[in-house]
């Protein structure tokens, strides 16, 4: 009697666990995808999204009132939001609950909810259906290194994008960018992918007014200095597209002094005064960079030769700090503010070179020791020789 009761108890306790649900009879493929997912880990089963009768062993399982298999993207978004929009349910997982609201503000969401466009991306298009993983999981479709590919599934599709008159080369552009280099080559996941600038659920291209904010999220100092520059006003007036006008967007490259030659003329081609300012700024930066890299070579050569260059290496770090500061500071477009930094860098470089010259002077000075050494050795040789001759004479009868 007790045995039967126990067996019953066990049976009811496990009835809702995924393995015992009758769905698996037919849906083994789906379960294989589902098993490692975040939802499976949280203890959810097929029923939690799809409903149906877990005891029925054939198609009749679908024949319940609560059975859901949404084929409308709007319904999908709402199905996901039925849990993910519920603060009480999401609280234990520490997840936000505003995804649907955000989504509705995105281009994707606008198309879906206003135009009922079923081609736009909804939750499952980016996160997966049964195989949804946590964002932190490197296999997740939405993990930073997988983002460009996930977005590229649609935004790299020429036929699909033609309908919306959207470009399809942005993914390849991005892949060639310095941002992508940082993410994929250097493994720096704090470097931006598509979603960092465009947003994820609220994905929308940042407008001209927001560019500075978007880039300034990471490039704080550059933004701060830019805001103080004469360019800030012009940008606010909509005369140009802040950061993007000079640096580009998707295919952004590591900024260098070469940028001055290419970009300033876009607006200032017929403005000799501004071009002169450009040349002055570029000249200052170049001077500091060249001085620093020359000192690096000189110190490196001395180190390789075995001279004590610990102090000089520290000086070089300082010179490099000045040069790196300069690269951000030029956003100010103020020569008088750059000059002290360049001067400081020049001084450090001069000090470094003088230090190395001192070390070399000691090396040269060592050579002077050769004269007395040779003199002493020659004297000794003569003494030995004389002594020997003397002995030879003594030996002769």
């Amino acid at each position: 009697m007790i045995k039967v009761a126990l067996a019953l108890l066990v049976a009811t306790a496990t009835a809702t666990s995924a393995a015992d649900i009758s769905c698996l009879k037919c849906h083994e493929k789906e379960n294989a995808l589902y098993a490692p997912s975040a939802h499976a880990q949280a203890g959810l089963t097929c029923l939690d999204c799809h409903g149906g009768d877990p005891k029925a062993t054939d198609v009749t399982a679908h024949a319940t009132d609560n059975f859901k298999r949404p084929d409308n993207k709007k319904a999908i978004a709402e199905l996901c939001a039925s849990c993910h929009g519920d603060v009480r349910r999401m609280n234990p997982y520490g997840l936000p609950t505003d995804q649907l609201d955000r989504y509705k503000t995105s281009k994707h969401g606008e198309q879906l909810f206003a135009q009922n466009d079923q081609k736009v991306a909804v939750c499952i298009d980016c996160h997966g259906v049964h195989d949804i993983l946590k964002v932190k999981s490197p296999q997740a479709h939405v993990y930073p290194t997988n983002i460009p590919q996930t977005c590229g599934r649609c935004h790299g599709d020429v036929k699909l994008m033609q309908e919306y008159k959207l470009p399809t080369d942005i993914i390849t552009q991005y892949k060639s960018s310095y941002h992508a280099y940082m993410v994929f080559e250097k493994g720096d996941l704090s470097a931006p992918t598509c979603v960092t600038c465009h947003g994820s659920h609220g994905a929308t291209p940042p407008g001209t007014a927001q560019v500075g904010q978007v880039c300034g999220k990471c490039h704080v100092r550059q933004r701060e200095l830019f805001e103080k520059s004469p360019h800030a006003e012009a940008a606010a007036a909509g005369l140009f597209n802040e950061c993007v006008s000079c640096h580009g967007n998707h295919g952004i490259q590591k900024a260098s002094v070469e940028l001055f030659a290419k970009t300033c003329v876009q607006c200032h081609a017929k403005d000799p005064k501004q071009l002169q300012l450009r040349d002055d700024i570029a000249g200052l930066i170049r001077r500091a960079q060249d001085g620093c890299s020359n000192a690096v070579t000189v110190v490196h050569d001395a180190t390789v030769r075995g001279l004590a260059t610990d102090d000089e290496e520290l000086l070089l770090q300082e010179a490099k700090t000045q040069v790196t500061q300069l690269e951000a500071m030029q956003h100010l477009l103020a020569v008088d503010q750059l000059q002290p930094v360049v001067k400081r860098s020049d001084e450090i470089v001069k000090l470094t070179l003088a230090d190395v010259a001192d070390l070399e002077r000691i090396e040269r000075w060592k050579r002077h020791a050769l004269t007395p050494i040779w003199a002493f050795l020659a004297l000794m040789a003569i003494i030995f020789w004389a002594k020997r001759r003397q002995l030879e004479q003594g030996r002769k009868p």
Binding site: T303, V304, R305, G306, L307, A308, T309, D310, E363, K366, R367, A369, L370, I373, W374, L377, A378, M380, A381, F384, W385, K387, R388, L391, E392
Partner: protein, 381 residues
């Protein structure tokens, strides 16, 4: 030997001091043949340089740390922080080169003067082993600073052992302490360099000197017709010959110091297994073999490069003519000169191979086999 009387008495009460004194006296004043000249001092110079290596080697060991993380840094410390560290390292590094040079000249002297002939064949054989041991010293010591040049020269050098049929791969792994040149290789080379080889070489040198002393120096007299040296005509080893050596020592030390000061030994860049520098060349004494190996397929090349070494080892038994004076041994002397010239030519080819040079205003690239190719443009540096 004139010991202070009190010490002498103290010793005499405990030891048969007479025998020791007689031996020391005999050795010290041993008469050398009248023709003992400057060429005969290269043996002593080699010995002196060996002692220099021992002393400076011990001094370097005080600061040197043989691990991949510390080897380069400790050599840098020796060069930059330790007082006169540059001098000690210079003495050791240039001393090694000069020692190999002196051993080579000593061997040539022995060869051309026919001193290796009966009854001194064994002395010659030991001498050849001493040479091999010295070169092995050079090879193992070269890795220890753990810089790019030493790392890659060792990688290339140990790679060659892999070409030996059947056991090559095992030998290579054994030598490197693994598949690649790593910290294990460094530890192995260090142990060989500072423990194993010094004792082996000491034993070889002791035997070599013992044989030399027992049999006396060779003269130009024909084999079997050597007359014992008459005490009144021979040159006493001490002080006469030693004074002559003193003169040569002065020149040697002058040369050593000049080399250290004018061509200082570099520290180099720390070994990086992921960056292969261009134009890896072994030390000069390996250049002829290095070049020779290029002209043959791997295994065959190894056998070909073994021939000169075997010839050297067995030469004392192959050349059986009784004459010693070079003028009376035209064939042997010609072979010697030819071998020397070949070694120099191969060495130079090895040195200039895979380099761009400018000769009389024209630019050439010298390929791996040492053949120059005219370049249309100035070589890039």
């Amino acid at each position: 030997m004139n010991l202070p009387p009190r010490i002498r008495t103290w010793l005499a009460e405990r030891l048969d001091i007479g025998v020791a004194e007689k031996f020391a006296d005999g050795q010290l004043h041993k008469p050398l043949p009248a023709e003992t000249g400057f060429w005969h001092t290269f043996g002593s110079l080699s010995l002196f340089l060996f002692l220099n290596q021992v002393v400076t080697g011990i001094l370097l060991m005080i600061y040197y740390r043989p691990t991949t993380n510390t080897a380069f840094e400790s050599v840098r410390f020796i060069m930059t922080k330790a007082h006169f560290g540059w001098l000690i390292r210079g003495l050791h590094a240039w001393g090694a080169t000069l020692m190999i040079l002196c051993v080579l000249i000593h061997m040539m002297r022995t060869f051309f003067m026919g001193a290796y002939k009966k009854p001194r064949e064994l002395t010659w054989v030991f001498g050849v082993f001493i040479f091999g041991c010295t070169v092995t010293f050079g090879f193992t010591g070269y890795l220890l600073p753990w810089n790019q040049l030493s790392y890659w020269a060792t990688t290339v050098g140990t790679e060659i052992t892999g070409a030996i049929p059947l056991v090559g791969q095992y030998l290579k792994v054994l030598l490197r302490g693994g598949e690649g040149v790593t910290g294990e290789t460094l530890a192995r080379f260090y142990v060989l360099h500072v423990v194993v080889l010094p004792w082996v070489l000491t034993m070889l040198i002791v035997t070599h000197l013992f044989l030399m002393r027992v049999q006396g120096l060779a003269t130009f007299e024909r084999v079997g017709e050597e007359k014992p040296i008459d005490k009144s005509h021979g040159i006493p080893f001490f002080p006469h010959h030693v004074l002559k050596e003193g003169v040569v020592f002065c020149a040697l030390i002058g040369l050593l110091v000049t080399l250290i000061l004018l061509w200082p030994i570099e520290l180099g860049e720390k070994a990086d297994p992921f960056v292969t520098p261009e134009g890896i060349k072994p030390e000069w004494y390996f250049l002829p073999t290095y070049q020779l190996l290029k002209y043959f397929p791997k295994t065959l090349g190894l056998f070909v490069s073994l021939i000169p070494q075997l010839l050297l080892l067995l030469w004392a038994f192959l050349d059986r003519s009784p004459e010693r004076h070079p003028k009376k041994r035209p064939i042997a002397v010609s072979i010697g000169i030819a071998a020397l010239l070949l070694a120099i030519v191969f060495g130079l080819l090895g040195h200039f191979s895979e380099r761009d040079i400018t000769f009389r205003g024209r630019h050439y690239h010298i390929d791996i086999y040492g053949v120059p190719h005219r370049l249309s443009e100035q070589p890039k540096h």
